[in-house]
C-alpha cells in the first residue's frame, strides 16, 4: 500500500477544475518531485491533498484511508505536513514560538522536539528568541521546514521550497530536503528549479494542463529529451 495515493482527482477554484484526473503515488521514505509549466495545477494538487481545496472527483488515500475533502486541521493529525509557497511562517512570532505552533495539537514533548529541530537546522539554534520577520529569506524557509516537521510527520508537502531564494541558497535548500528525507520523512515537492529537484528525487511526475504527462525515476526524467526541451530549459 502506498503512503499517499491520489487517483483521478478533479479539483479547482469555484467550480472551475484545474486538476482534471491527476494521479500520483508516494511510497514511504521517497522524495517525489512534481514539475510542469505554470498553470499545470501543481500547487492546486498540494492544496487539494492538504484539504485547503475540496476534490470534486477522485480519491486521496493516506495509507489506505480516504482523506479527500477533510479539513486541514484534521489532515495534519494524520501525519502529513504542508509548507505553502509563500507566507509560510508567522512573522511576528519568535523562531521558538513558530516551532511550538507547529506542534499546537500536541501538548507534551514539544520542548524536546524543538531541540531536535535545532539539531537538524543548526542555523536556527542561536536564534530561538528572534522574531521570524527579521530573519533572512533562507532562514525563514528553514523555520517553515522545521515548523512542518514538529509533529514528526511521515509525509511533508513542499510547495516551491526554493522559490524566491538567492541562487546560492537554493542548493542549500535541496541539501536540507535530503537531510529531512534522511530522517525517514517522505517528501513531495513542487518545483520550478526542476533540474535540481529531480536530481535529489527518487521519482518525478510531469503535469500539464491539469493532467499527468510523464512519470519516472528522477534521473530518467532528467535525461528524457522531451522533458529537457519542454521543462528544463534546453
Amino acid at each position: 500500500m502506498s503512503l499517499l495515493a491520489v487517483e483521478g482527482v478533479f479539483s479547482g477554484y469555484g467550480g472551475l477544475d484545474i486538476l482534471r484526473g491527476v494521479s500520483i503515488r508516494v511510497e514511504e521514505g521517497e522524495i517525489v518531485t512534481i514539475i510542469g509549466p505554470n498553470g499545470a495545477g501543481k500547487s492546486t494538487l498540494m492544496k487539494t491533498v492538504f484539504g485547503i481545496l475540496r476534490p470534486s472527483q477522485g480519491s486521496i488515500r493516506l495509507k489506505g484511508e480516504e482523506i479527500g475533502g477533510r479539513k486541514p486541521h484534521e489532515i495534519v493529525r494524520k501525519g502529513i505536513s504542508y509548507v505553502p509557497q509563500s507566507e509560510n511562517v508567522f512573522p511576528s512570532l519568535t523562531v521558538e514560538e513558530n516551532l511550538a505552533m507547529g506542534a499546537f495539537i500536541r501538548r507534551d514533548g514539544v520542548r524536546g522536539r524543538i531541540e531536535e529541530m535545532f539539531g537538524l537546522f543548526p542555523d536556527l539554534a542561536g536564534r530561538s528568541k528572534e522574531v521570524v520577520g527579521r530573519l533572512s529569506g533562507g532562514q525563514r524557509q528553514m523555520v517553515a521546514f522545521a515548523r512542518a516537521l514538529m509533529l514528526d510527520p511521515e509525509l511533508i508537502l513542499l510547495d516551491e521550497p526554493s522559490a524566491g531564494l538567492a541562487p546560492v541558497l537554493v542548493s542549500n535548500v535541496f541539501k536540507k530536503i535530503m537531510d529531512i528525507n534522511g530522517t525517514g520523512v517522505a517528501v513531495v515537492m513542487v518545483e520550478q528549479n526542476a533540474r535540481e529537484a529531480l536530481r535529489v528525487s527518487h521519482r518525478g511526475y510531469v503535469l500539464a494542463t491539469g493532467e499527468n504527462r510523464l512519470e519516472g525515476p528522477g534521473p530518467e526524467l532528467l535525461a528524457d529529451e522531451q522533458v529537457g526541451r519542454l521543462y528544463l530549459g534546453g
Binding site: 486541514p72 493529525r77 505553502p84 507566507e87 508567522f90 511576528s92 514560538e97 505552533m101 499546537f104 509533529l151
Partner: protein, 302 residues
C-alpha cells in the same frame, strides 16, 4: 494642569480596556467591531443588575471596601459582567459573524453586521433599564488632596489599578500561554494557522471572550467613575477607535499607548475648551493620524 493629566490617565485606563479588545478582534477577524462600545454598556448594566438586585438578595452588598464607594459585592459583579459579556459575545459570533464567515462574506458586511448588533444590544439596555441614568452607589466619596493640587478619589486609583492589572494579564496571556500564542499566530496568518493544526474557530471564540470581558470591565469602571447611561458606550466609540488607530490597529501595546495619549489629550483639552468637545478632540486626533501616519505609532508597515 497636573490634575487634568492624572484624570487623563484614569480616562486612558478605561479607553485602553476597550481599545485592546477592538484591536485584538481586528487582528484576527479584520473588521472593526462597532458593537464594542455597547458591549461596554451592557457589561456595566449586568454589574448594576448584580449590585442592585441579585447580590443584595443573597445578603451580600451594602458594605464598603475601605475608602472605595462600593463593597466586595462589586468585585463579584465585575466577575459576573466579564463572564456574562464573554458568553454574549461568543453567542453573537455564533449567531451572526460565524455564518457570514462560512459564506465568505466581505469584511465590510461583518462591520455592518456589528453595527446591527450594536443597535440590538443598546435596545436591550433601554428595554431593561430605561433611559434614566443609573448609579452603582450614591455614597459621597471624599477625595484625597495630593501635591500639585491634585484631587484624587480612591475609586480612580481602583480604576487605574484594575486597568493596569488587566493589561498586564493580556500581555502575559499573549506571550506565555498556548492559546495566546495561537492567537498571535492566527492574527499573523489565519490560513497558515489552519494548516498548522490550530483550531481557528476556537481562537476566534477566545478573542471574543477576552475582548468582551475587557469591555465589560471598562463599562463598569465608567459607571463607577460617573454613571450608567444606555448610550455611554456608543458615544465612547470615537475615543476607542481613535486610540486603536493611533496605536496601530492590530497591536495591543499600541492600543494601550494610544488610549493613554487620547485620554490625556481629551482631559487636558478641558483646560481651554468645554468638556462637550472631548469627543471632537478624539475625532481630530484620529483624522490627523490617518492623514500623517495611517499605520499608527506601533503599527506594522504594509
Amino acid at each position: 494642569m497636573a490634575e487634568l493629566f492624572v484624570y487623563g490617565i484614569i480616562l486612558g485606563s478605561i479607553i485602553s480596556l476597550g481599545a485592546i479588545g477592538i484591536t485584538l478582534l481586528y487582528g484576527i477577524l479584520r473588521f472593526g467591531n462597532f458593537a464594542h462600545g455597547d458591549y461596554m454598556t451592557l457589561g456595566g448594566y449586568i454589574a448594576y443588575l448584580m449590585v442592585s438586585v441579585a447580590l443584595p438578595r443573597t445578603g451580600l452588598g451594602g458594605s464598603r471596601l475601605g475608602p472605595l464607594s462600593f463593597g466586595f459585592d462589586m468585585l463579584i459583579a465585575i466577575l459576573v459582567a466579564i463572564l456574562g459579556m464573554a458568553a454574549i459575545a461568543i453567542l453573537a459570533d455564533w449567531l451572526v459573524y460565524k455564518r457570514l464567515r462560512e459564506r465568505g462574506s466581505a469584511l465590510i458586511l461583518m462591520a455592518m453586521a456589528s453595527l446591527g448588533v450594536a443597535i440590538i444590544v443598546q435596545s436591550i439596555v433601554y428595554l431593561g433599564w430605561g433611559s434614566a441614568p443609573k448609579f452603582y452607589s450614591t455614597a459621597i466619596q471624599r477625595a484625597w488632596l495630593l501635591p500639585l493640587g491634585i484631587k484624587l478619589k480612591a475609586d480612580q486609583v481602583f480604576t487605574f489599578t484594575v486597568a493596569i492589572l488587566l493589561v498586564a494579564g493580556v500581555h502575559l496571556f499573549l506571550k506565555r500561554t498556548r492559546m495566546g500564542k495561537a492567537m498571535r499566530a492566527t492574527a499573523d496568518n489565519m490560513q497558515l494557522a489552519r494548516v498548522t493544526g490550530i483550531d481557528t474557530e476556537r481562537v476566534i471564540a477566545w478573542t471574543w471572550a477576552i475582548g468582551a470581558g475587557l469591555a465589560a470591565v471598562a463599562g463598569v469602571l465608567m459607571g463607577i467613575e460617573a454613571q450608567l447611561m444606555p448610550v455611554m458606550g456608543w458615544t465612547f466609540l470615537i475615543p476607542l477607535f481613535a486610540a486603536t488607530i493611533l496605536g496601530g490597529i492590530g497591536n495591543p501595546y499600541g492600543a494601550f499607548l494610544g488610549a493613554m495619549i487620547v485620554g490625556i489629550c481629551q482631559q487636558m483639552s478641558t483646560a481651554w475648551l468645554s468638556p462637550a468637545y472631548k469627543p471632537a478632540i478624539a475625532f481630530i486626533m484620529m483624522i490627523i493620524v490617518l492623514l500623517v501616519r495611517p499605520r499608527g505609532l506601533l503599527g506594522r508597515s504594509a
